[in-house]
């Protein structure tokens, strides 16, 4: 069953139709949109490469630091590992509590 639209709905429709009337405006040319697609995708690939490079740089630095510590100062290395584990556990518990509240 189709309900008859109320007056405000009719006016809303008329108003928004008028407001958004684009006349004979055409969408951008296909070639322009294709250029936009190419530019955005190129920038995206660059960004991904930058992020990956940063990730590997950090990973190598951390690994090298870890290897150095374990070979020279094994006790401090274990203490540091334990502290990181505890911090991660505390963060996880805190987050879980916030979600259940």
């Amino acid at each position: 069953m189709n309900e008859r639209p109320e007056k405000w709905e009719e006016h809303l429709r008329q108003g928004l139709d008028t407001l958004s009337d684009l006349g004979d405006e055409q969408p951008p040319e296909l070639a322009n949109l294709q250029m936009l697609v190419a530019d955005v995708q190129r920038e995206q690939r660059r960004q991904t490469a930058r992020d990956l490079a940063l990730f590997w740089l950090c990973a190598v630095a951390l690994l090298a630091g870890g290897l150095y510590a374990v070979s020279r100062q094994p006790v401090w290395f274990l203490v540091l590992q334990g502290m990181v584990l505890l911090a991660a556990g505390a963060a996880w518990l805190g987050r879980r509590r916030r979600v259940t509240e």
Partner: protein, 170 residues
């Protein structure tokens, strides 16, 4: 293979064709929610860029145009939050100046549009999405990042505000 499958496999022409087909409907939508043609144009461009970046995530559960509308809504919500445009928009008074007749009576719908324009944007937007475009409460809530109940109450308040002036006249 259709344009969507081609676009998701990296075919730039196919993606450009998809964007071109829905460009104007996104722009029209953004004009109806922002009431600002310049802002709508900027957000349409941003929506196209975001769609290009995320085309791989389009799962085909909804129509492509609906997906674009959801991106546009998200971007507009971000704009409202970031720049606190809401206050600025409400201070603008020249809404629909070009549509107002210099002489003679104003069309009846102008009053409803003035009332719509006076509403906070995040209250007017769900009303437009529901009553002009016919999207569901669930979709609107998801796009705006608010619970379904909040969508319903905002629409209820917006309808009451629009209806008020008319019933007083009748």
């Amino acid at each position: 293979m259709d344009d969507m499958a081609r676009a998701q496999q990296g075919d730039q022409v196919a993606l450009a064709r998809l964007l071109q087909a829905d460009y104007l409907s996104v722009k029209k939508y953004l004009i109806t929610v922002t009431h600002d043609r310049a802002l709508a144009e900027d957000l349409t461009q941003e929506t196209m860029i975001r769609a290009i970046q995320r085309i791989g995530q389009f799962g085909g559960k909804s129509r492509f145009s609906t997906w674009l509308i959801s991106i546009a809504t998200n971007l507009y919500m971000d704009t409202l939050r970031r720049q606190k445009r809401e206050r600025r928009l409400q201070e603008e008074s020249a809404f629909f100046e070009s549509e107002r007749p210099a002489v003679g009576p104003e069309p009846e719908w102008l009053e409803v549009m003035d009332r719509l324009h006076a509403l906070p944007r995040d209250v007017a937007m769900p009303l437009v999405l529901k009553h002009y475009y016919g999207y569901t409460y669930e979709e609107i809530g998801e796009w705006m990042g608010i619970p379904e109940g909040t969508v319903k109450s905002r629409i209820f308040n917006a309808v009451r505000a629009l209806r008020k002036g008319l019933t007083e006249h009748e």
